[in-house]
């Protein structure tokens, strides 16, 4: 099992009182799974996704990654795990606006201090894989929404992570483009054996997963 959560609890302090975003959630993700996390708005989907590798700190509960407990790790250690083993895809693409396509894709490799030559080779290889070789010197604003999300996908896999965490990756795309991106994620999952955990509120998108976690009011309703 690549990922395991036990009694994951996250409570926010609000002016109206305490709000439980995640209410003692337990789950497990096997290596190679394509897990979709569904549920209505405010059900805690994104909180779960972002809290797993420390982007949000839990109130209580434990999380294991590759059998190692990570919820109590220091920020430095969690940063190291995210750098080497995790790829993120967000609804808003999260590209750096002043960098070209290839430069955006190179960022995870630069953070790992990979040599310039290898950065170039791997980025070009990945851009070929996502079909954007001819757009490598374009700025994000010069790309369509679908192309921008493909750049984000390329960036999330260029450093060969073990798991991709995708938060509503098709939320800003029309149905046709959504289907294209989801097909692509399924291809990555199957061909590269990369585990994917994807938050979505779209039943169509949820259908692409091999397993589903449905959240409601911070609790998992069914596996």
């Amino acid at each position: 099992m690549i990922l395991k959560g036990e009694n994951v609890f996250k409570q926010y302090q609000h002016t109206s009182g305490k709000i439980s975003a995640l209410d003692h959630v337990s789950f497990g993700v096997e290596n190679g799974d394509f897990v979709t996390v569904t549920g209505p708005s405010g059900s805690g989907k994104s909180t779960l996704l972002l809290s797993i590798f420390g982007l949000i700190r839990l109130t209580s509960g434990t999380i294991f990654f590759n059998g190692n407990r990570i919820d109590n790790m220091s920020d430095r250690h969690l940063t190291e795990i995210r750098k080497k083993s995790v790829g993120y895809i967000l609804q808003s693409f999260a590209l750096v606006p002043y960098l070209t396509t290839i430069q955006n894709v190179m960022i995870p490799l630069a953070l790992e201090k990979v040599s310039k030559k290898e950065q170039q080779n791997r980025a070009e290889e990945i851009l070929e894989y996502v079909g954007l070789s001819d757009r490598k010197d374009h700025l994000p604003r010069e790309l369509s929404a679908g192309q921008q999300q493909r750049v984000a996908i390329a960036r999330s896999i260029v450093h060969r992570p073990q798991i991709i965490m995708a938060d509503e990756p098709t939320g800003n795309l029309d149905p046709a483009l959504s289907g294209e991106i989801l097909e692509f994620l399924r291809k990555i999952n199957r061909e590269n054996k990369i585990t994917i955990m994807m938050v979505t509120h779209s039943p169509m998108a949820a259908g692409f997963g091999t397993r589903r976690l449905h959240l409601s009011e911070g609790k998992i309703i069914n596996h």
């Binding site: 982007l55 190291e80 995210r82 750098k83 999260a94 750096v96 606006p97 960098l99 960022i107 953070l111």
Partner: protein
């Protein structure tokens, strides 16, 4: 791709913001460079003028009167000539030239004249200790002599100044000031009897408008023998470096010659000291203002940049950028701003000094390239100091809250 390249790309792509960020620090550095360029040249000019006046420090016996700087050696009590060697052995910095002399009023042909014994340059050169002290290398001259180097380098052909540099004055030779020559009807190669000894007038000195016009100059040893005051002098004139005087040369001389009176041309030296101190204070005040204004300006620019790039910081942190990477991103940017601000400030300030110097201070200002190094160092210090807090806060940002700004 490297973090450095990322910083450079970001700077290049946001040039307009870069210009506003640079402006304050560039102008600040330019103001300091301009003030300093003018001040340094002004100080050098005053120092040169002081040098050209001749000796500016007088060492007299304790009992001597110093009511009039220029005549205080006349008929003064005496002090040993060995004091010259004491000064040389002390390694005090800032003593450019020394001239021991013995002065007395004497009667010549029934008329009262001032006889001054001086040590010509050729005799000073014969003293091994003085040679080894290196003083000769500084153009040691006699009797209020400005250094030849100073005169030559500034193209001064003024006979009044040149005549003070007396290379040779043999025994039984003398030189007469213009007034005393008129009074005694002296001309060159004419003989004159002073206290029973015959002297040859080798030269009548041109008029200077000073007390020297009323003096007859003879070799110090002759005068000591005539007056029966062996190995004694009435004064030691010193050409002190102007800056050294302001930095306490008089006090140092008093320490090694405790039984003497050490005095200077007070008005000139104190004016110079006051001017130097004023310029230093103005520069210090400007420096403090510019440090805070420049620092706040750069800090404000970096803080605006941090806020604008919150999402980007969040994205980088999400992808595994350490806090140190975020520090590096913004401090590197501040460093580059500092270097650019220092160079531009130096160029602008130097240009302002060169253009405005002749109009404002009546002096010709030339670029002082050492200030390029200081400008860059100062600018970097200001930029880094101003950026520390925004950078610290940027690295402390919660990546998740920044990502949610979509």
């Amino acid at each position: 791709m490297t973090i450095t390249k990322l910083v450079l790309i970001e700077l290049w792509k946001r040039k307009s913001q870069l210009i506003t960020g640079l402006l304050a620090i560039t102008l600040g550095i330019a103001v300091i460079v301009a003030i300093q360029s003018v001040a340094v040249v002004s100080e050098q000019n005053v120092a040169k003028n002081l040098d050209n006046l001749g000796a500016n420090i007088l060492v007299l016996p304790q009992a001597a009167s110093i009511d009039d700087y220029y005549t205080s050696d006349i008929d003064a009590p005496t002090l040993p000539i060995d004091y010259v060697e004491r000064i040389l052995e002390s390694t005090i910095a800032g003593v450019d030239n020394m001239s021991p002399k013995l002065t007395r009023r004497v009667s010549v042909n029934g008329k009262s004249v001032v006889l001054t014994g001086i040590l010509p340059k050729s005799e000073i050169a014969s003293k091994p200790l003085w040679q080894s002290s290196g003083l000769l290398g500084k153009q040691l001259t006699t009797s209020c002599a400005p250094s030849q180097t100073a005169n030559q380098s500034h193209g001064m052909e003024d006979e009044k100044l040149k005549r003070k540099a007396i290379d040779t004055l043999y025994s039984e030779d003398c030189m007469a000031g213009s007034q005393v020559a008129k009074k005694l009807s002296l001309t060159a190669n004419k003989k004159i009897n002073i206290l029973g000894k015959e002297f040859m007038v080798v030269k009548v000195l041109p008029e200077t408008g000073t007390v020297d016009d009323d003096r007859i100059f003879a070799n110090l040893k002759d005068v000591q023998a005539l007056l029966k005051i062996e190995n004694q002098v009435s004064a030691i004139e010193i050409m002190g470096c102007c800056n050294a005087i302001s930095e306490g040369l008089l006090g140092q001389l008093r320490n090694i010659l405790p039984d003497t009176r050490v005095t200077s041309i007070n008005q000139i030296v104190s004016t110079q000291i006051e001017t130097n101190q004023l310029m230093r204070k103005v520069t210090l005040v400007m420096l403090i203002i510019i440090f805070f204004v420049g620092g706040i300006s750069i800090g404000n620019y970096i803080w605006a940049n941090v806020n604008e790039r919150k999402r980007e910081i969040g994205i980088l942190r999400m992808m595994g950028a350490e806090r140190m990477t975020i520090y590096k991103m913004f401090l590197l940017k501040a460093l580059l701003l500092g270097i650019a601000g220092g160079i531009l400030g130096f160029l602008l300030g130097t240009l302002a000094g060169v253009i405005l110097g002749p109009y404002l201070a009546g002096i010709v200002v030339k670029p002082l390239y050492i200030y390029l190094v200081w400008s860059i160092l100062l600018s970097i210090t200001i930029a880094l100091a101003g950026s520390l807090i925004p950078t610290y806060l940027a690295a402390k940002f919660d990546p998740h809250s920044n990502l949610q700004e979509d």
